[in-house]
């Protein structure tokens, strides 16, 4: 049996200084899951921070070693339940690349539409819950309203709301119809206006600005030395996005920008995500304009998925950053090792450097701004 950890313990170090250790989490509404931060405090100032992870470890990598490649497919959208589509399609693309399976054009375009919609829904939930962490309830309702619209759209085509398992090696499971495309077009029109509203509601808010500007600065040097990716790195001025640097699928055919900010603070991360939603809408509209007719599954998909022996690596840009799938195959039906390189894992590993020196009240603002998903950190 594990022994219970005291929530708070005094550390008698020095007679003049009174420091103590505070456990934040694992059951805490602002840690977005079951993250525990062991904070060494002096008054309200953080001296040291030791993140404790693993509370949601479900052994995805061990599972992968005990089942074949197709059987692992449902696991992938459960890694990150907010942008499950991107992880799911990323895994499919990794296998397609290793097996040299050609994906039909229509399926590629559908993947862009659903993937980008999923990215918007993830960012919307982030915006809502982040503002809730900071004490604003109204933006949460706005965020969830539009997120619900996206979930309905994805539900219509995939049959599920969060854990899609929509991709297959060589295509997607179900075709989209005119109703779906029309509804997505309507949503895009509606959402552009809604983004402006959210900007007015949140970005210009003076309390929000005071709580986020200059707070939790994660500079470019720190980000690069730790290997931080995604909005956290882009907020520090490094314009890096897997979709642009290493275009997978058909991302090289689309026009979009990689939004960046300079400060690397919580406000910068908010702005990057807001601009990314705008770019994603642009991507969805371009894909809808060009979507061709045709099959949605490759004609020839090998019955047995056996990637050639050796290492394979494939990266996609998830809503949180660089998601990599490393497969070491021995040429058999099951991988010898399947490692999931998840972006939040790296982002949280910077917390022992970012948090010291800040106030306890800002911990919630900083932790929320890096957009962590515990199930993706713990795997």
């Amino acid at each position: 049996m594990t022994t219970a950890t005291p929530t708070m313990e005094l550390v008698p170090e020095d007679e003049d200084r009174e420091t103590y250790i505070l456990n934040m989490g694992p059951q805490h509404p602002s840690t977005h899951g079951v993250l525990r931060l062991r904070l060494h405090l002096e008054g309200e100032r953080i001296l040291e921070c030791d993140p404790v992870i693993g509370y949601a470890h479900r052994a995805h990598e061990k599972m992968a070693e005990n089942r074949d490649y197709l059987q692992f497919l449902p696991n992938t959208s459960r890694l990150d339940y907010l942008s499950g589509m991107i992880y799911n399609l990323g895994y499919c693309q990794a296998i397609e690349k290793a097996m040299q399976i050609e994906v039909p054009e229509r399926a590629e375009y559908i993947r862009i539409v659903v993937g980008e919609l999923n990215r918007i829904s993830s960012h919307l939930l982030w915006m809502g819950t982040y503002l809730l962490d900071l004490g604003g309830i109204t933006p949460f309702l706005y965020g969830f309203d539009d997120r619900e619209k996206i979930l309905d759209l994805l539900d219509y085509v995939t049959g599920s709301r969060l854990t899609y398992s929509y991709g297959r090696f060589g295509g997607v499971t179900m075709d989209v119809d005119e109703v779906f495309l029309r509804n997505v077009a309507d949503f895009c029109d509606h959402f552009r206006g809604r983004l402006e509203e959210i900007h007015k509601l949140v970005t210009g808010n003076v309390i929000f600005r005071h709580r986020t500007r200059g707070v939790g600065v994660m500079g470019a040097d720190l980000g690069l030395s730790y290997g931080v990716t995604g909005p956290c790195l882009r907020a520090a001025g490094v314009a890096r996005d897997v979709r642009k640097d290493e275009p997978y699928g058909i991302y090289d055919r689309f026009e979009f920008e990689v939004p960046t900010e300079v400060e690397g603070d919580c406000f910068g991360r908010h702005m990057v995500r807001m601009s990314e939603m705008e770019q994603s809408i642009g991507l969805v509209e371009q894909a809808m304009r060009d979507i061709p007719d045709g099959p949605i599954m490759a004609a020839k998909v090998p019955k047995r998925i056996r990637p050639p022996a050796g290492d394979h690596y494939f990266a996609v840009e998830s809503a949180r950053g660089h998601f990599g799938i490393y497969i070491h195959s021995d040429g058999s039906d099951v991988p010898l090792r399947l490692k999931l390189r998840t972006p939040s894992f790296v982002s949280v590993s910077t917390m022992p450097v970012v948090l010291p020196g800040t106030l306890l009240a800002d911990t919630v603002a900083i932790l929320g701004s890096i957009d962590i998903i515990i199930s993706e950190i713990d795997r």
Partner: protein, 170 residues
């Protein structure tokens, strides 16, 4: 080319180019575990960042019989991804690169936690995903779950217990 610079380092035995279109890598290299801090520093100075770090249990694989640590470095100014493999033996354990790339700290803890592979020179090597008092290393190929408490709580009767009981009855 990083491969040519690497091969001059002591402890790097082989470098070869890989087909990016099928593998996702541009080059792969073999290095001695104790040479890794030096290799990592070379990558860092050339503008690479640590992208991934993991361990392979190849003890049961023919002609292998060891663990190896897989380091993966990428760079942003051009598309280039290099993988370095370090073969571990009993007298040649893994060496930490956490002082070169601080991001390696948690990856190395994960390797220790999941594979039971010690990493020398690591600042604070302890379990990361499993509980601190956990017994065993789950991603080893010969791993047997010893967490009997979980079975007791869930009411599942283990096969061995059934056999034991059957033997007791006779």
């Amino acid at each position: 080319m990083i491969g040519e610079e690497l091969i001059r380092l002591a402890g790097v035995s082989a470098s070869s180019e890989q087909d990016y279109a099928t593998r996702g890598y541009h080059g792969e290299h073999e290095a001695a575990p104790e040479a890794m801090p030096e290799v990592a520093a070379l990558f860092r100075d050339a503008g690479y960042h640590l992208e991934n770090l993991t361990c392979l249990d190849q003890r049961a694989v023919e002609e292998m019989g060891h663990f190896s640590i897989v380091y993966q470095f990428g760079r942003y100014d051009e598309l280039d991804r290099q993988v370095v493999r370090a073969k571990l033996t009993d007298d040649r354990p893994a060496t930490s690169i956490a002082n070169v790339f601080p991001g390696a700290d948690w990856y190395e803890r994960e390797v220790f936690d999941m594979h039971g592979v010690g990493v020398e020179g690591h600042p604070d090597l302890k379990r990361i995903l499993m509980p601190l008092d956990y017994v065993g290393h789950p991603l080893r190929k010969d791993f047997v779950d010893q967490d009997t408490l979980r079975y007791q709580l869930s009411g599942v009767v283990l096969e061995e217990e059934v056999e034991e009981e059957a033997a007791g009855d006779e």
